[in-house]
Structures are given as structure tokens and as C-alpha cells.
């Protein structure tokens, strides 16, 4: 159960990192730039971006003769939910006042 759960969380962390990078560079997020920002090779990044696009979290666009990525409304909702859950997860990991 645990072995099945952990990799999924890591993937979500990675997806969130990619989305944050694209979100903060509107119109200029080319694949090489995202790769430098996330610190991930372009071939692996392409797979991840393909998955994000399949789920409607990013979309590809042409901007100044270059292919760039944009975060969709659904992608922004994913980010909100991701960070909110991260905050709650952190809260649950805190010891309570009774030490339990």
C-alpha cells in the first residue's frame, strides 16, 4: 500500500513544480526553459508535459514562432488543490498538544 502511494505523491510534486514554472513565465515557457527551471532532462519533461496536456492542465501554443506552454484554468485549480493538501498534510504531521 505504502509502496504504491509514495511514487504518486512524487509525481504530483513534479507536476506541480512544472506548472508553477509555466504559470510564472506566461508566454515564454519553452521546453528548454522549463527544463532549466525544473532541472529535468528535456525527454523526461516532454513525457510529463504530454501527460499534463492530456489531462487538460497545460496547453501548447505558438508564440513568436516558438512552441510555448500555458497553464489552463484546470491547471491553476490543480495547483490550488495541491498546495492546500500540502498544507493540510503538514498539519497532520505536526504533533498535537497532547503529544498524540
Amino acid at each position: 500500500m505504502m509502496r504504491g502511494g509514495a511514487p504518486r505523491r512524487e509525481k504530483n510534486d513534479l507536476y506541480a513544480r512544472i506548472l508553477e514554472v509555466i504559470k510564472r513565465d506566461p508566454g515564454r515557457a519553452r521546453i528548454t526553459r522549463i527544463s532549466y527551471a525544473v532541472g529535468m532532462p528535456v525527454d523526461r519533461l516532454k513525457t510529463a508535459l504530454g501527460r499534463l496536456a492530456d489531462h487538460g492542465l497545460v496547453l501548447e501554443a505558438e508564440f513568436e514562432e516558438a512552441r510555448v506552454y500555458l497553464v489552463t484554468e484546470r491547471g491553476l485549480r490543480f495547483l490550488d488543490a495541491y498546495w492546500l493538501l500540502k498544507g493540510f498534510t503538514g498539519e497532520l504531521e505536526q504533533p498535537t498538544r497532547t503529544g498524540k
Binding site: D25, Y36, V38, L84, K86, G87, F88, G90, E91
Partner: protein, 406 residues
């Protein structure tokens, strides 16, 4: 004028009138003194190493890395299209664009920094706009109108109008006049002044921090006195002593070590625990409420236990059915719910619902309903006790009530 073409290997350059180019990796060093002066631009296809300082009109490295062992002054744009730029001393340019990594050992100043990967500044950075795809790390002061990082942003001190990061922001201290916007985590070790703070995950405010509205998805913590506007938090709020603000709305629980001063509401879906004195307009707490004392100008509505050392004062207090109150309560209108247990009460109008047990009662008008039990009752107006309710000592009509503790 023909540009000066650099051969491979090391070349001594003094003062160059015009442009400089190279097709491959090149190393240049000052022919005299410690600096090379180029009146035009440098355009390079490979790596460039400068063994000393360099000043030029523009500098472009198309492929490869740039390494400058002294100060670098570029009157227009410094562009490193695919690689890294490492400047051992200060960097001054109109515009800096680096694909992978920009490392600067001295002060860095430009109108705009645009770095795809990482920007590491060992001293301060001064710019109008700083945009970094990945990580921005400033060991000194970051001064900018706007600074953004897709990943993490860290600075010993921030002086900016707007700061934004996808992953996290860590700031020692500083002022952000407008918004701080972070997807993940925000932490300031010292005092940070801000216009607005929006954090997706967790925020930690250093002592002395003050600002406007705060919205946090997960948790908000502060270790010392802080000042804020309206706070909205999804998870939990933990405040240090001396917190002051307009209002707090939290989905989970709220706690304050010491006093908490609000001009507006305190609303908590879970519990609220204030070890010192709370002052607020009103409270709405879903779970238990614990405080040294609480003085409210409006209403107190608590779903769980109410425990205070010195009392709870509000214009209207509703103790829920099966509720429990420890410590005195003082209000204009007080309703003690069915099957509740409550200590002493001061009220203008007190209603004790069926089967509730109440301590000493001091009120203008008292109504005790069926099966309820009151330790003693003094009143200045009227006292109605249901036939099967019990008053341990006979209710006493008095000219004036015993003074309330709050």
C-alpha cells in the same frame, strides 16, 4: 570597421575600438592593468573566459559558458543563450539574459535579469525586474520592483513592490509594498512588512512582521508579535504573543501564545485556544474555546467547551445544548443550552434551558426552565423559576448586583 576576431587559446586585449568576435572557445586577459575595454560588442560562438575585468557595449555568448574573473560592465545586453554565466566580482548591465545559471560574486545590477534556471547572487541584486525560471538565491539584499521565481526564492533581505514564487520564499527581513504570492511555502526569519500575502501551503512570519490581508491554504504560524489585516487560513493558525489584526477565519484550529487583539471576528471551524487575553468584535468557534479571558463587543457562539481563567464577556452568549463552561461569563443576553454545565453568570437577561446546571447567577431578569439547577440567584428585575427547576438557595431580589469580574 572590421571586428577583431579572437583566435582559440589565450589572447591579450587592451583597449579595443570596435567589436570582437570568436568562432570557438576563447580566453582573454588584460594587456595592461586589470580590465579590458571594448567600445563595441562581443559576439562569441563558444565559451569565453575573461581573466580580469571587462567592460563592453554588449556581450553575447551563443553557445557555451561565460566566465569572468573580475568585474563585468555591459552597457546594453548581456546574453548567454544556452549556457551559464559566472562572474566572480560585480556585474552591471542594462539587461541580463542567461539560459541556465547566473552566479555573481559581487553586486549585481541591471534593469532586468532573466534567468532560465538558477540565479545565485553572493551579494546584493538591484533591478527593476528579476525573473528566474527555477531558483533565485540572494545572500544580500534583493531590491526590485518585481521579482519572480518558478521554484524557490531566497534572500537575506527583500525590498520590492511585488514578489512571487512557485515553490517557496525564504526572506530574512524586508519590505514588499504590494503582494507576496507563493504557491508552496513562505518563511521569514525576521520582520517583513507586506501589502498582501497569499500562500498556497504554509506561511511562517518572523517576529515584528506586519502587513495587510493574509490568505493561506494550509497553515499560518508566527513566533512573535505580528500585525495583519484579514486572515483567511484553510488549516491552522498558530500565533506567538502580541498578535494584532482585523479578523481571523480558519477552517481548522487557531491558537495564540499570549494575548490576541482583533478589531473584527474570530471564526474557527475547529478549536480556538488563546493562552492570554482575547479582545475581538465577536467569535464563532465550532469546537472548544479556551482563553485567559475574552472580551467581545458582539456575540460569542461556541460549539464545544468554553474554558477561561478570568472570564468571557460578550453582548450575547449562547452556550450550546450539552455545553460546558468553566470560568465566569458576562453578557447582555445569555442563553445556557439544555443539559449544559456552567459556572457563574452575569447577565442583563439570562435564560437557563431545561436540565442545565448553573453556578451563581447575577442578572436583571432570570428565567430558569424545567429541570434546570441554579446554585444561587440574585436579580434586580424579575426571576421566573419553573416548578420542577431547582434553586439551591432562594432567589434574592437586590438593589444592585455583585460587580462582574470583567
Amino acid at each position: 570597421m572590421e571586428p577583431r576576431h579572437l583566435p582559440r587559446g589565450r589572447t591579450a586585449l587592451g583597449s579595443v575600438d570596435g567589436d570582437v568576435t570568436s568562432d570557438g572557445p576563447a580566453t582573454i586577459y588584460p594587456a595592461t592593468g586589470d580590465r579590458i575595454e571594448v567600445s563595441g560588442s562581443l559576439e562569441l560562438e563558444g565559451d569565453l573566459t575573461v581573466e580580469g575585468g571587462l567592460s563592453c557595449d554588449a556581450l553575447t555568448v551563443r553557445r557555451g559558458d561565460l566566465r569572468v574573473q573580475g568585474p563585468l560592465l555591459v552597457r546594453h545586453a548581456l546574453v548567454v543563450r544556452k549556457g551559464r554565466a559566472e562572474i566572480e566580482a560585480g556585474l552591471t548591465a542594462e539587461r541580463v539574459e542567461v539560459a541556465r545559471l547566473l552566479r555573481c560574486g559581487g553586486e549585481a545590477e541591471a534593469r532586468e535579469f532573466d534567468v532560465g534556471g538558477e540565479f545565485r547572487a553572493e551579494r546584493s541584486v538591484k533591478a527593476e525586474v528579476v525573473g528566474v525560471g527555477g531558483r533565485l538565491d540572494v545572500l544580500g539584499t534583493l531590491t526590485a520592483r518585481r521579482a519572480t521565481a518558478g521554484g524557490a526564492l531566497r534572500a537575506a533581505r527583500v525590498e520590492a513592490e511585488e514578489v512571487e514564487a512557485g515553490g517557496s520564499i525564504e526572506a530574512g527581513q524586508g519590505t514588499v509594498q504590494g503582494k507576496i504570492d507563493v504557491g508552496g511555502f513562505f518563511e521569514s526569519s525576521g520582520a517583513v512588512a507586506f501589502g498582501r500575502l497569499r500562500v498556497g501551503g504554509r506561511a511562517v512570519l518572523g517576529p515584528g512582521s506586519r502587513g495587510g490581508d493574509i490568505a493561506v491554504g494550509g497553515q499560518l504560524r508566527s513566533g512573535g508579535p505580528v500585525e495583519f489585516g484579514d486572515v483567511e487560513v484553510g488549516g491552522l493558525v498558530e500565533l506567538g504573543p502580541g498578535a494584532k489584526g482585523r479578523s481571523i477565519e480558519v477552517g481548522g484550529r487557531v491558537s495564540a501564545e499570549g494575548a490576541l487583539e482583533l478589531t473584527g471576528r474570530l471564526e474557527s471551524g475547529g478549536s480556538a485556544r488563546i493562552t492570554g487575553d482575547l479582545s475581538a468584535l465577536e467569535i464563532e468557534v465550532g469546537g472548544s474555546f479556551l482563553a485567559g479571558s475574552a472580551v467581545l463587543t458582539g456575540e460569542a457562539e461556541v460549539g464545544g467547551r468554553i474554558e477561561t481563567a478570568r472570564g468571557l464577556k460578550a453582548s450575547r452568549i449562547r452556550v450550546p445544548n450539552r455545553g460546558f463552561v468553566r470560568g465566569p461569563i458576562v453578557g447582555e443576553e445569555v442563553v445556557i443550552g439544555k443539559d449544559s454545565e456552567c459556572g457563574p453568570v452575569w447577565a442583563r437577561h439570562l435564560l437557563v434551558r431545561p436540565r442545565a446546571k448553573v453556578g451563581a447567577v447575577h442578572a436583571e431578569r432570570v428565567e430558569v426552565e424545567s429541570g434546570a439547577e441554579v446554585e444561587s440567584a440574585e436579580y434586580t428585575g424579575s426571576c421566573r423559576v419553573a416548578p420542577d427547576a431547582r434553586c439551591r438557595t432562594a432567589p434574592q431580589s437586590v438593589a444592585s448586583l455583585a460587580p462582574p469580574p470583567l
